[in-house]
């Protein structure tokens, strides 16, 4: 059920998350949250703001810095019928716990022939752009998208953040819920229009496997996720001034990718730019390009353009970081070349 109009007000991404959690926790006692600093601190990126005071330490549990321990424990608790929401503070830390995530959480339902359900929501913060350097600025969409057994989502706007988080919590399968730091609308980061948006008061769901056309256009399709969607929209606005009408698709779901929405758009525009805040090789630009090259080949008028972080770690110094993360300017350049080609 998509949202209704009444009782809609503007919330930031982080408030949308906290509201989703609160409403679901009120509805279902088997839901609890575990993670580092999710308690009094309210989550380093605000995902659990205010929840500790409302639900107490039994349901909003601070943990030691033991990601394998507590994310592994979420698996055991889920197998016993609880619905854990666990937070991996930065996606960059996945390497200390990937075994529990991809070999256990993602595979036990399958290996058990569907007899064990693991309704786990794994929250994790992604993204750079504020000089947090190589170990705290990654998105790693594809590191999760590549591996079977998890649904992987990365919503952009507060409305989708709330709706997809509720869907994730209600889903009986493991869902990796990636939220972008800059889109949380936190007081201490860049202030972005996109991080504040209309969010209905009541609980509602947004599907976990559907992309969304966030701007219609006929000349070129630009596919992105999270901050790259924001940059693409910005680029589209400027391209419009130059007479180029871009369609922008917000991927929302990293796995599975909503092929239909993409193919339909490319059928119309004949041109595709894929833009990604993750690394270039084996990333979103690869997968989306491949989908179109194999299933929408005849729609393409010109070669696909891929924009992503070149295959380098993310550098600290602002000027170099800006250089490696694609932005509206890069998109505009690419599109202009394509259209005049």
């Amino acid at each position: 059920m998509e949202a209704t109009k009444e009782k809609t007000r503007k919330l930031t991404g982080s408030k949308a998350m906290a509201q989703a959690l609160e409403q679901e926790m009120n509805r279902d006692e088997s839901i609890f949250v575990m993670g580092e600093d999710v308690g009094k601190y309210g989550g380093i990126f605000g995902s659990t703001t205010g929840l500790y005071d409302k639900f107490g330490e039994d349901r909003i549990m601070d943990t030691p810095i033991s990601e394998t321990g507590f994310i592994g424990a979420a698996i055991g608790a889920a197998a016993e019928g609880l619905r854990p929401v666990v937070e991996l503070m930065f996606v960059d830390f996945h390497g200390v716990v990937m075994d529990q995530i991809y070999n256990h959480m993602a595979k036990i339902p399958y290996m058990s022939g569907g007899h064990v359900k693991l309704p786990i929501t794994l929250l994790t913060a992604v993204g750079g752009g504020y000089s947090d350097a190589a170990q705290h600025s990654q998105t790693l969409y594809a590191s999760f998208g590549h591996l079977p057994g998890m649904k992987v989502v990365a919503p952009t706007f507060p409305h989708d953040i709330k709706g997809m988080l509720i869907s994730a919590i209600r889903d009986d399968n493991p869902v990796v819920f990636m939220f972008h730091k800059t889109l949380q609308g936190l007081g201490w980061m860049d202030q972005l229009d996109a991080s504040l948006g209309p969010v209905p008061e009541e609980a509602y769901t947004v599907p976990l496997d559907k992309a969304k056309v966030v701007r219609e256009g006929k000349d070129v399709t630009i596919v992105g996720a999270q901050m790259m969607t924001v940059e693409a929209l910005d680029a589209a606005k400027k391209l419009a001034e130059r007479g180029i009408d871009a369609e922008v698709i917000d991927l929302r779901s990293i796995k599975p990718i909503d092929k239909e929405t993409i193919l339909k758009s490319v059928e119309k525009t004949g041109r595709l730019v894929v833009v990604d805040e993750d690394y270039y090789s084996y990333g979103i630009t690869a997968e989306v390009s491949a989908i179109v090259a194999s299933e929408g080949f005849d729609y393409l008028k010109v070669p696909i353009v891929r924009l992503a972080i070149p295959d380098v770690p993310i550098p600290y110094s602002r000027i170099m970081e800006k250089f490696v993360i694609p932005d509206a300017k890069d998109i505009i350049n690419a599109v202009e070349k394509m259209v005049t080609a």
């Binding site: 394998t68 016993e80 529990q100 007899h115």
Partner: protein, 329 residues
């Protein structure tokens, strides 16, 4: 939980013997299609096969104190715990044969047996199951039950990060959690003194402020006593324990292991001190059972195991396309 000592010991004997018979048949089944030249991928039971012959006391003498509602997580060497925990033997065997009637419809295999009815699971990643037991213990506590969760691991797994993180969590949250370390002296070819900087792992309880127990010489009776105490403490909210049992691996790490790293006479010495035989002697000596009782029991066991194999062998293989199902529920 079984309170009567005699009943308990007979139960332990039964479970140990069932596991032994089960695995002796498995040893043969596994070699089918793998002769004259051994090929790990051939025959009705392909893939790796880790047998637990000799290690039965670790499982049975602990699990006798548990109910279906208590949780057990096990490892790549899971048959003895699975059998003790009451995992459906037919479905388990069928799973190992890759049949669609198996616990996991043939998707899991011998290292990945899941029977939620008796809260049993296992897995192929060393150390990987420990946090799951912590999570089960957490759930038990949250629900206000007195259920416990027991993680079985090998001595090699104690040196994994997962062990440490799990034990700290269990102790910090005072969970009804026990880890049983089956010290069979080897982690594949690596001897304990080449993997572990302390002689016995019960001393590591000090790092978590919890109870540590040590059971020597694969003794099913001592394991029974110690486990009872640990389980009772856990149920009463008195916190987690580590139990390390010195146990014996009769066979190679996996079937087909050339075992060149192992002293030649090690196994014959171990076999001469077989825990099932020792328990049997004890039962007879204490007149807890007669020779006839044991024989009758053995017959029952044989039949149960044979039935399971028959079921497995006669079951159908899955459709190839079934591979695409059950990724999501």
């Amino acid at each position: 939980m079984k309170n009567n000592n005699k009943q308990d010991l007979l139960w332990i004997y039964r479970k140990m013997k069932t596991s032994r018979y089960f695995e002796e048949r498995m040893e043969k089944a596994y070699m089918e299609g793998k002769q004259p030249v051994f090929n790990i991928g051939a025959g009705p039971v392909p893939g790796e096969m880790h047998l637990s012959n000799g290690q039965e006391p670790a499982a049975a003498s602990m699990i006798v104190h548990l109910t279906n509602e208590d949780t057990v997580t096990a490892t790549h060497r899971p048959h003895h715990q699975a059998i003790a925990k009451g995992v459906d033997l037919k479905k388990m065997t069928a799973e190992i044969f890759g049949k669609k009637t198996g616990l996991g419809k043939g998707k899991g295999g011998h290292m990945h047996l899941f029977d939620p009815n008796v809260k049993f699971s296992c897995g192929g990643i060393v150390g990987g199951g420990i946090p799951h037991a912590v999570g089960a213990a957490l759930a038990n506590k949250k629900k206000g039950t007195d259920r416990v969760a027991v993680a079985f691991i090998g001595e090699g797994a104690v040196n994994s990060g997962a062990f440490h993180e799990s034990l700290n969590l269990a102790a910090l949250w005072n969970l009804p959690f026990i880890v049983v370390v089956e010290d069979n002296a080897w982690g594949i070819s690596v001897a304990k003194d080449k993997s572990t900087c302390v002689p016995t792992n019960d001393v590591r309880a000090a790092a978590y402020g919890i109870k540590g127990y040590e059971v020597r010489d694969n003794d099913p009776l001592e394991m029974y006593r110690v486990s009872k105490e640990a389980v009772e403490r856990a149920r009463k909210g008195e916190g987690p324990s580590i139990i390390e049992i010195e146990t014996y691996r009769y066979l190679g790490h996996f079937q087909g292991d050339p075992e060149l790293y192992r002293p030649k006479d090690e196994v014959s010495k171990l076999r001469a001190n077989d825990p099932i035989e020792r328990l049997k002697k004890y039962l007879l000596k204490e007149t807890l059972a007669s020779e006839d009782d044991i024989k009758a029991l053995d017959q029952q066991i044989l039949k149960e195991v044979d039935n399971a194999y028959e079921f497995a062998i006669n079951s159908e293989y899955p459709e190839p396309e079934a591979a695409l199902e059950d990724v999501f529920v």
